[in-house]
Symmetry: C2
Subunit: 247 residues, 2 copies
């Protein structure tokens, strides 16, 4: 298989160079050929290049600079709007305003998203996922004028790399892969899996910079705090409900 | 980019031939290098090859034959168990038992899943996503012994293709791709987007076989019924909550 899978890294800085229409269309077409539940294609992709709209999207992504600097911003949405409209025009009563259908549509959106990312990286483009799409779905819904039954689940910035950052470490394969059944972790297994990461000089520096005692505390107390997670859980659930899905 | 993106089709019949350990490990490693939120890797992959366990999983997937016939069944899970255990061992209090964290972990799982599918297909393997992973998450949790904060979100069967089915049609690109903002569909736009699909002989046959008047009715009345969606929504939400996520 192509080596991009193994050499890739997230790219957050892009050259001030456009992505050609033909290339972008080829990448998007790769995404559209990926698996989709019952061939319903219950997702949508918003391609934003316009500077003014990217500037309106930026606050939803906590003003991370790649939103305005990337030539293309892709917003992937769970979408039962188009499908439900089609049903109603064909004497069929759609029943997709529920949690399972939201998840089905979110899965469709993410399968397309990741295929597009893989295809883009194979062409030399760089990508960055912004988790903020779920944090501030309400703001994205407003800026992109998403109708009922359409909810953003992932945003990806796309462009020609202007940096070659170090490849981040990953845990050993056995941290995520279980054979036959889930084998839960003993305390010493956890120690073994995280030892190399915790010993890295960049990890040690990260802990010091944040004034913490352990790397885990940087996650729980600074980067992904319980209070933030709970605040944004309520906000995201509210956005999903306002878009018409019962949760 | 490699042509597999454009020539692929879902494969439901497999040769009775194993997937070599080395190949499987390479494919899984490709998945592990894909994007993950804050490098937390909050997902897990259960690799099931054992016939007896596949037979126990089969009912969760409505006994679709590929579950027992495929040499490998992959179950992709949203997983905050390992990460939370690590936090607790490092004097850090995890706060990931909420809906946002569930979604973050589900997104991580699906990004890995689809990278693995793309890499597998590039190697000549065939894949099939089983949407039933969310329908019957409770049954999968029991068979695979998934602990608290672990929820299956996708199952993929993997093997060497023993069939070359027709490639399914897809809607025109403009059905899923919107430029700059979401442009909602007029009635005539819906007609245009679905015209070719509805005119296909296999679509016409499908409508007739199901005793329906329109293709949309096959979806709303037979394949993805409102009553089923609501039943499985409640069941999936219950499974998520019992695994410890507040929704």
């Amino acid at each position: 298989m192509n080596s991009t899978y193994f050499t890739r890294r997230t790219i957050r800085k892009y050259e001030p160079r456009e992505i050609g229409e033909e290339l972008l269309e080829r990448i998007l077409t790769a995404g559209v050929r990926a698996s989709t539940t019952g061939n319903m294609q219950v997702y949508s992709i918003i391609v934003t290049r316009d500077r003014a709209i990217k500037e309106k999207l930026a606050p939803a992504h906590f003003n991370q600079p790649m939103v305005t600097e990337a030539p293309v911003v892709l917003t992937f949405c769970a979408d039962f709007n188009r499908f439900s409209k089609w049903c109603r025009q064909r004497d069929a009563e759609p029943g997709y305003d529920n949690f399972l259908s939201f998840m089905t549509a979110a899965i469709d959106a993410l399968i397309a998203a990741q295929t597009i990312c893989n295809a883009a990286e194979e062409e030399g483009l760089g990508i960055c996922y912004l988790g903020t799409a779920t944090y501030n779905a309400d703001m994205i819904i407003e800026v992109l004028e998403l109708p009922s039954l359409v909810v953003p689940v992932a945003t990806v910035t796309l462009g020609w790399p202007a940096q070659v950052p170090d490849q981040p470490d990953r845990l050993p394969l056995e941290a995520v892969v279980h054979q036959e059944k889930y084998v839960d972790f003993t305390a010493s297994a956890i120690d073994d899996l995280y030892r190399a990461r915790e010993a890295r000089s960049d990890s040690i520096q990260f802990v010091a910079e944040n004034g913490k005692e352990t790397l885990a505390q940087v996650f729980t107390d600074v980067r992904y705090k319980k209070s933030d997670n709970e605040f944004f859980s309520a906000k995201f659930l509210d956005a999903i409900r306002r878009q018409g899905f019962t949760v």
